[in-house]
């Protein structure tokens, strides 16, 4: 106390100034950090804005209904109907998930509950490697190895089919589905397991009757994210599906997806032409689908954490 009163007054003033300066600096930093926090939000808003800006002029040439439900896509004649292409994307994605879901769920249960530690230590990194292989490399393997196999196996004229695309996509969706379902199963409170075992249930009955049902929301989210991954995948699917238009699309025939159409045709479309805008409109449709799917996944994930 005594030392403080005897301190010369200017020291106190300087100290106050330093504190104020420091406080101002802290406020500036807080502002700057918050601004960076908002970048992701701004990015999503800009993506929407730029897709809309270049998609809207499409509807000077076709109506929204004609665009979404039109049966023909002849960009050179300015006929833009994307029904066959949407159905193509949906077919490939649906079959991919049908293949990926049982395998991924089985693999997730195996990793979470059954595999001995040593096996798990090998399985988990392998799944990570699968997730890390670039889609162009998977597409290349799909084209050179898988498609001749499909051709041979089903005695088709060409191995570039919706099925080939679906198998390729299944393996690209698996890492997502496996890791998120496994997390969900591991996160089930141990009381569930203990209670089930105490009631005399076997290990498998506990897994199928208690753990998997309890992890249902997480598994739903995993499947949703897998769907999002599959429907948005571009290069691999473009290389193995042949890209021919069929309405309705067939499993053992060539198929065209939204992603592949944008990727192949944007290079040829004249900037500002009707075709150019129609491809942006297609991108907008794709964005809307994945946005909805991811939102649903997020809701499910939130529910599973609770």
């Amino acid at each position: 106390m005594a030392t403080q009163t005897t301190r010369p007054p200017e020291t106190r003033i300087t100290a106050g100034a330093v504190t104020r300066k420091r406080a101002r600096k802290e406020t500036l930093i807080r502002f700057f950090v918050t601004a960076n926090g908002a970048v992701a939000m701004i990015a999503v808003a800009l993506i929407m804005l730029f897709l809309l800006k270049d998609a809207i002029p499409t509807f000077r040439y076709v109506s929204v209904t004609e665009f979404l439900l039109g049966r023909n896509w002849y960009p050179l004649d300015e006929i833009f109907g994307i029904l066959a292409i949407i159905l193509g994307s949906l077919l490939v994605t649906a079959v991919a998930i049908l293949i990926a879901l049982p395998v991924s769920l089985g693999c997730a249960i195996y990793i979470a509950e059954i595999a001995p530690r040593s096996v798990r230590e090998i399985l988990k990194p392998t799944v990570e490697i699968l997730a890390g292989i670039p889609s162009i490399v998977i597409g290349f393997i799909g084209l050179v190895i898988l498609s001749p196999l499909v051709k041979e196996l089903f005695s088709l004229d060409s191995g570039l089919t919706a099925l080939t695309g679906a198998i390729t996509l299944a393996f690209m969706a698996m890492p997502t589905i496996i890791s998120i379902s496994e997390d969900a199963i591991v996160a089930v409170p141990s009381e569930y397991r203990d209670a089930s075992l105490a009631l005399g249930a076997t290990h498998w009955q506990t897994i199928s009757g208690a753990l998997v049902p309890a992890a249902k929301s997480g598994i739903t989210a995993a499947v949703m994210l897998g769907v999002g991954r599959a429907i948005g995948e571009t290069m691999a699917v473009m290389m193995v599906t042949g890209n021919a238009l069929h309405l309705p699309p067939k499993l053992f025939d060539s198929v065209r997806t939204l992603t592949a159409t944008i990727a192949t045709e944007m290079g040829e479309a004249v900037q500002g032409s009707a075709h150019y805008h129609a491809l942006f409109a297609m991108g907008l449709v794709l964005f809307a689908i994945t946005f909805a799917v991811n939102l649903a996944a997020d809701v499910a994930l939130r529910r599973s954490r609770r």
Partner: protein
């Protein structure tokens, strides 16, 4: 008694199915790596890495594509790392529960789910055309930076959250300001985790094709790019060209290019994993 035995057989059967499904996931990974090494390994000569493609890509190597990929990785790093780390600092250290934070988190989730080709369209619309960067390393890097931003934010956030709260309290109790605490106590302890996330993000960028189709990738360039406003050849697109546009490209060049790309991408993943494991072992708390 017999019910018990048949149940045991049934469970054995189920467990075998589960093991088989794990095998179904693992086998293709092993096969892919095996095919790439056995068919691409022969092409992996010093000359392949150091010479440009020649004679309409039927001879020579992938040197310019490797250089282009390195340029793009550097650009992606520059644009995504500072923003990603600061965003993570915001979320862990500054953010208070509320609608703004919820919107930010939702945006990150959705950004992570945007299809790569849509990033390509966006990059074309904003960076190439509206901002007039043209198809260039700058436009491609910015596009890829947005694509990997969620990866970097999420990993950095995890790394920051792993720093014990007591560290922050000790620093604040010593009279340090919030930023001083973050700068000198929180960040140094979170760096290894952040590096892991950054490497994973950049390796993802190195392997992407769709976002760079319209923003930077060149079919063939006679010389290396000289500035960030030049187009570049990049490995993933080069592989695409070799496989789909050059009918007489010899297989060893195709497989060699695929293997080169895989080595770069998985090599970085491996480095990230090693750093993560080391750090976990060396952690003091």
């Amino acid at each position: 008694m017999s019910a018990g035995i048949s149940r045991r057989i049934y469970e054995r059967f189920i467990y075998s199915l589960l093991a088989i499904s794990a095998l179904v996931v693992v086998a293709p990974v092993i096969l892919i790596v095996y095919f790439l090494i056995s068919r691409g390994g022969a092409g992996m000569t010093w000359e392949f890495f150091t010479s440009p493609p020649r004679n309409h890509m039927t001879e020579g190597g992938v040197f310019p594509a490797i250089v282009g990929t390195l340029y793009l990785m550097t650009g992606t790093l520059v644009f995504s790392v500072p923003v990603g780390i600061l965003a993570a600092i915001y979320l862990t250290e500054y953010a208070k529960q509320g609608p703004f934070v919820r919107a930010v988190r939702l945006a990150i989730v959705n950004l992570a789910g945007v299809p790569s080709i849509v990033f390509g369209l966006f990059g074309l619309g904003l960076f190439v055309l509206a901002l007039k960067f043209g198809a260039s390393i700058l436009a491609g890097s910015l596009t890829l930076a947005l694509l990997v931003l969620p990866v970097i934010i999420t990993a950095s956030e995890e790394a920051l959250l792993a720093v014990p709260e007591s560290f922050r309290q000790a620093s604040l109790a010593l009279g340090a300001t919030k930023w001083q605490t973050i700068q000198r106590v929180v960040l140094p302890n979170a760096v290894p985790g952040m590096i892991t996330g950054i490497i994973l993000g950049v390796s993802r960028a190195a392997g992407e094709t769709a976002p760079i189709l319209f923003t930077v990738a060149a079919y063939y360039l006679p010389s290396l790019p000289r500035s960030i406003f030049d187009q570049a050849m990049v490995l993933p697109y080069h592989l695409y060209v070799l496989v789909t546009q050059v009918p007489d490209a010899p297989p060893h060049i195709q497989w060699g290019t695929a293997l080169t790309l895989l080595i770069i991408v998985l090599g970085m993943n491996l480095v990230a994993t090693v750093i993560r494991l080391r750090f976990r072992r060396a952690r003091k708390w």
